[in-house]
């Protein structure tokens, strides 16, 4: 690690001020950022820890919506987001207990790793990502792997998910990292079905619109029978080809629908 200063603000306002300094960077649970620093792949001058800001922690639900503070760790979501069981379940399968007790939803969404789980939930749920400046619709938020609509220094303060009638996240794990090799989140709402896929595409999380259309008319795994996904533009690596990932998208979508219905 290179040396850096640490600030520990207790309010979003103070954090935003601190993040205005040159080369300042927000520190959530550190589960992605700390390993990056250890490898000397990043060299912020100031780390602004968000872990002392109570106003961005916690889970609340009302009127068909569940809202999670950006600084809430995965273990808390797993334990307290029961109103949206598929989301709680997703949180409970991220990493190991140490990761779940440190890593935060805000950090995960800010990082937008192409294999991360939360992006699939946010996109499939049509969630709203709230920052210290504005509200961003999930459809506008994810802009390709490791890229989001966030401006420099912008802080994810909360994420609110409309709770669907039925939903399921099916994660096929990459054998080494156990991130998703392919993860599919299916959410059925009164007027639509949304399907978001993570792990597979070189463009990061995406919505599988053909499946959404097919499922909107008939929410059953059979509805997906005739569909297929192309391997073009899919990630191809040691753990699987683009074609394999494309195949898994369909398998995991069917399983998610079956689990949700």
């Amino acid at each position: 690690m290179y040396s850096f200063d640490v600030e520990r603000p207790t309010s979003v306002a103070d954090a935003a001020t601190a993040l205005g300094k040159e080369d300042a960077q927000a520190l959530g649970g550190g589960q992605t950022l700390i390993p990056t620093l250890k490898q000397r792949l990043a060299s912020p001058s100031v780390l602004v820890s968000l872990s002392g800001i109570d106003e961005i922690k916690g889970v609340s639900s009302d009127g068909g919506k569940i809202t999670i503070g950006g600084g809430t760790n995965h273990a808390t979501v797993a334990a307290e987001a029961g109103a949206y069981a598929a989301l709680a379940d997703l949180a409970n399968n991220i990493g190991d207990p140490a990761v779940r007790n440190r890593g935060t939803i805000g950090g995960s969404l800010a990082n937008n790793d192409p294999s991360a789980c939360y992006p699939a939930a946010a996109l499939a749920s049509g969630a709203t990502i709230t920052t210290n400046n504005r509200d961003i619709a999930a459809d506008d938020y994810f802009q390709g792997m490791f890229t989001t609509a966030l401006e420099e220094g912008e802080i994810v303060t909360s994420v609110s998910f409309p709770v669907p009638e039925a939903a399921s996240y099916q994660k096929f794990e990459q054998p080494a990292s156990r991130f998703s090799l392919v993860g599919v989140f299916v959410a059925k709402y009164a007027d639509s079905v949304r399907v978001a896929v993570t792990g597979a595409s070189e463009e990061g999380v995406f919505r599988w619109s053909e499946a959404e259309a097919a499922l909107s008319g008939n929410f059953s795994a059979d509805a997906l029978e005739g569909l297929s996904v192309s391997g073009d533009g899919m990630i191809s690596d040691l753990h699987g080809s683009g074609d394999y990932r494309a195949h898994l998208v369909k398998v995991m979508t069917k399983r998610a629908v079956a689990a949700a219905s």
């Binding site: 096929f172 990292s177 690596d237 753990h239 699987g240 080809s241 394999y244 898994l248």
Partner: protein, 789 residues
């Protein structure tokens, strides 16, 4: 009733108290007053000419003590190889120089270019970033077959090619050809034995220290064999005689082979401590371990089996390419040859067996012994091939094996070894009983009803352990003897310290060795401790690998204890005023046969050290004996393993539903520890079979350079304990060592990979599926590609 002490009992591992409570003393726990830290600047290029290294800016940076490059090691020896192989033409292998720090060229990602010694690790690392290195990139040499083509880029310019040796062994070519010419059926298989990273929980660490007053160097290191390091580093690299060099390997957190070898970092810290007059410490990061610990396996083989019309094996021929990596690591050359070729007959009476091995240099991390070392590679080829033959001939794979088993002992194979004992049908019977094969059809049907495929796989194996008879391995090119030594030091009150040459890095020697001595003397195990891992305290020792500790070092300990008993009887005879021949030792009491006269163990030991009433004219005071033991033969543990897997045809994911091992380890001293060793070994073999894959791209970049991409087995990759059955009840004791033990450390890792892959292929040939071949690791994507490719 199971015994509660001595040989055959299962006392809990006494060393675990300190390991589990965080009070172990590992090398990284050792800090020498005033020590400096070294950071190695390593090549990020697979292959290149070093044009220039400019350290001037770095030297001026804060905290820097000294910066070393290859030039500082001119005049110092290179890292030696411990085994010379003679090729099929009678010529010595090509043996390249292996400098401590790169000279002229870098030859793999991770090759150390420079070393910065500084007051702190961060300062050393900062300075390393300021070193200006100019390297002219050369083509990487990754594929072994391409590396041997004419005109291929050479890894070592001063060698004639990238071929280390072309070795042939076993039956003469004409006789093997004749066996194949007369065969009714020939089965051929090409396969890869995947490259692995050993990944012990504790990465390597080395602390060098130098005492100017006594001109004495001390190296604390994560080693399985401190005396071997003292020998190699002292004699071949740094030129330090034994009495001026101490090597200490304290608690070591796992080795699996990769901590046998002498590494450049060890020589560096020892050298630098003297040059800087300051202790120097190196602690490997996990990332560094991936690119500097010797890797394992990495063989590509073609193997052929000839059968007669009655399905008897009549000939076996193998052609293997073995990756050596960029340099020859300590035992690298012996693994694909003597540790592999000699096992190629397996458990079968095939009359003609010929093994061919080409060892190849590539621009990758050196490859050397990894749990099983050569024997897993042999077993994997043979047992995959037999299964394939059984499928081609539509015969039961178990029946085909049984029909060809060796059944009378001793048995000399066509590949130079003589099996002393064994009963392969007994382990097969046991395995079948534990596996419930009659229920398989119903279980397969149940799986199919869920849309899953189910398969079962079996495997028989033999290994050569208790490494090794020195005169034999000397003839085969070993540059050292492979005996071991023990000193039994009985103290005045009867307590005992046993100094052993074997090194325990997870095996449980501290528990097991005292069980043996306690049994022999009839005293409480709590009175006995072993001392290991320090060349200044132990007479000598070749260390722990090749499942040798109890078979070789344990035998030395038995011999030394026998000497103790002989002397103690003389003392007892004097105290009891009886003749020595009438003295019996039982339950820690010396008594005169046929009388009620006796003295206790403690009375005799006290007399030895307070010799007021003592036969001083006949024997010396004191009670301490040393023995060296050189084994007469290898030991030959063998076993039959089986497993059942479920394969999800949609995703390709394999789940191991049940695993059974039936091993013959000869006598067993501590059943609990043996079971633990086998459980761990099987887990490691399952890791190789399903998960682990050390992969390079065509540019020689390591693709699996961290746990993000290198998959280690985890608890949930293994069957539940109730379905993870380890049996060692079949026991044919070794005939040539005093304990009748054979060694159990590697069996699991040798026997399990083919078992798993055979089961997967059985599943992939059920129903209307007909997958002929798959390579390890049998990952979900590979299974899917095999089914849909």
């Amino acid at each position: 009733m199971p015994k509660d002490h001595g040989i055959g009992a299962s006392p809990k591992r006494r060393e675990d108290v300190r390991f589990l409570t965080g009070t172990g003393n590992y090398t990284d726990d050792i800090n020498v007053y005033g020590q400096a830290y070294v950071y190695f600047l390593r090549s990020d290029m697979a292959h290149g000419n070093i044009k220039n290294i400019d350290t001037s800016a770095a030297e001026a940076m804060s905290g820097v003590v000294k910066i070393f490059t290859g030039a500082d090691f001119e005049g110092v020896g290179g890292i030696p190889c411990g085994w010379e192989i003679t090729d099929k033409n009678g010529d010595a292998m090509q043996e390249p120089a292996h400098p401590v720090l790169a000279i002229g060229k870098v030859r793999h990602v991770g090759d150390p270019i420079a070393a910065v010694v500084a007051d702190s690790l961060e300062e050393a690392r900062n300075a390393a970033e300021a070193i200006d290195v100019d390297i002219e990139e050369l083509p990487a040499v990754v594929d072994m077959k391409a590396a041997l083509e004419d005109g291929a880029t050479k890894v070592h310019d001063d060698l004639t090619s990238n071929l280390c040796y072309d070795w042939q062994f076993g039956t003469e070519t004409a006789d093997v050809d004749a066996a194949f010419a007369g065969a009714a059926h020939v089965t051929t298989l090409e396969l890869t034995n995947n490259r692995l990273v050993a990944n012990p929980m504790e990465p390597r660490v080395a602390v060098g220290d130098y005492n100017r007053a006594g001109d004495h160097s001390t190296l604390h290191t994560t080693s399985q064999n401190p005396h071997v390091i003292r020998l190699l580093m002292g004699a071949f690299v740094l030129g330090i005689p034994e009495h001026k060099l101490t090597v200490v390997a304290p608690d070591v957190g796992g080795g699996f082979g990769t901590k046998i070898f002498h590494y450049a970092e060890e020589a560096f810290v020892t050298f630098a401590a003297k040059a800087c007059n300051r202790a120097v410490k190196w602690t490997s990061s996990r990332s560094e371990a991936f690119m500097s610990d010797a890797h394992g396996r990495d063989h590509v083989s073609k193997i052929e089996l000839a059968l007669d019309a009655d399905n008897n094996f009549v000939g076996l021929r193998t052609d293997t390419y073995a990756n050596m990596g960029a340099y020859l690591s300590t035992f690298a050359s012996s693994v694909p040859t003597w540790l592999h070729g000699t096992l190629m007959a397996g458990n079968y009476k095939t009359p003609a067996v010929q093994v061919n091995v080409k060892a190849v240099f590539t621009t990758t991390v050196p490859v050397d012994a990894y749990r099983g070392a050569g024997r897993p590679e042999a077993t994997y080829q043979l047992e995959r091939l037999i299964d394939k033959a059984a499928r081609e001939l539509s015969v039961d794979p178990m029946a085909l094996r049984r029909q060809n088993f060796i059944t009378s002992f001793p048995y000399a194979t066509p590949v130079a070894v003589e099996y002393d004992t064994g009963d392969y049908n007994a382990t097969m019977d046991k395995m079948e009983e534990l596996m419930d094969f009659p229920g398989f059809a119903a279980r397969r049907a149940a799986s199919e009803a869920k849309g899953m495929l189910r398969g079962r796989g079996v495997n028989c194996f033999i290994e050569a352990c208790g490494i090794a008879p020195s005169n034999l391995v000397g003839q085969l090119g070993a540059r050292a003897g492979l005996y071991d030594a023990a000193t039994v030091r009985v103290n005045a009150t009867g307590s005992i310290s046993v100094m052993v040459g074997a090194h325990s890095h997870g095996q449980g020697h501290e528990t097991v060795f005292p069980q043996v001595v306690a049994e022999m003397l009839g005293i409480d195990e709590g009175m006995i401790d072993i001392v290991h891992g320090d060349t200044s305290k132990i007479p000598f020792g070749m260390g722990t690998y090749g499942s040798r500790s109890l078979a070789v070092c344990g035998s030395a300990m038995v011999r030394a204890t026998e000497k103790i008993i002989n002397k103690a009887k003389k003392i007892a005879a004097h105290l009891l005023e009886a003749s020595e021949g009438d003295i019996e030792l039982k339950d820690g009491q010396f008594s005169v046969a046929g009388t009620d006269k006796s003295v206790a163990w403690g009375d005799v030991t006290l007399a030895a050290y307070v010799p007021h009433n003592y036969p001083l004219e006949d024997i010396e005071p004191g009670l301490e004996e040393t023995a060296f033991y050189d084994p007469a033969n290898f030991t030959y543990p063998a076993g039959a393993y089986a497993c059942e897997v479920e394969v999800d045809p949609e995703t390709g994911k394999v789940t191991i539903e049940k695993f059974v091992s039936a091993d013959d380890f000869g006598n067993v001293v501590n059943p609990m520890i043996v079971e633990g060793q086998v459980h761990g070994g099987i887990a490691q073999g399952i890791g190789q079979a399903l998960l682990e894959n050390c992969a390079y791209d065509e540019n020689g970049q390591l693709l699996s350079a961290s746990y993000m991409d290198y998959a280690m087995p985890r608890a949930d990759d293994l069957p539940h304990m109730a379905n993870y059955v380890v049996d060692h009840s079949c026991q044919t004791p070794c005939t040539h060592n005093p304990l009748g033990v054979k060694g159990c450390g590697e069996a699991g890792a040798i026997g399990s990979p083919p078992t798993v892959v055979n089961a997967v292929l059985d599943a992939l040939n059920s129903g209307n599926h007909d997958v002929e071949h798959i390579d390890m690791p049998v990952s979900p994507s590979r299974v899917w590609e095999a089914m849909n490719g």
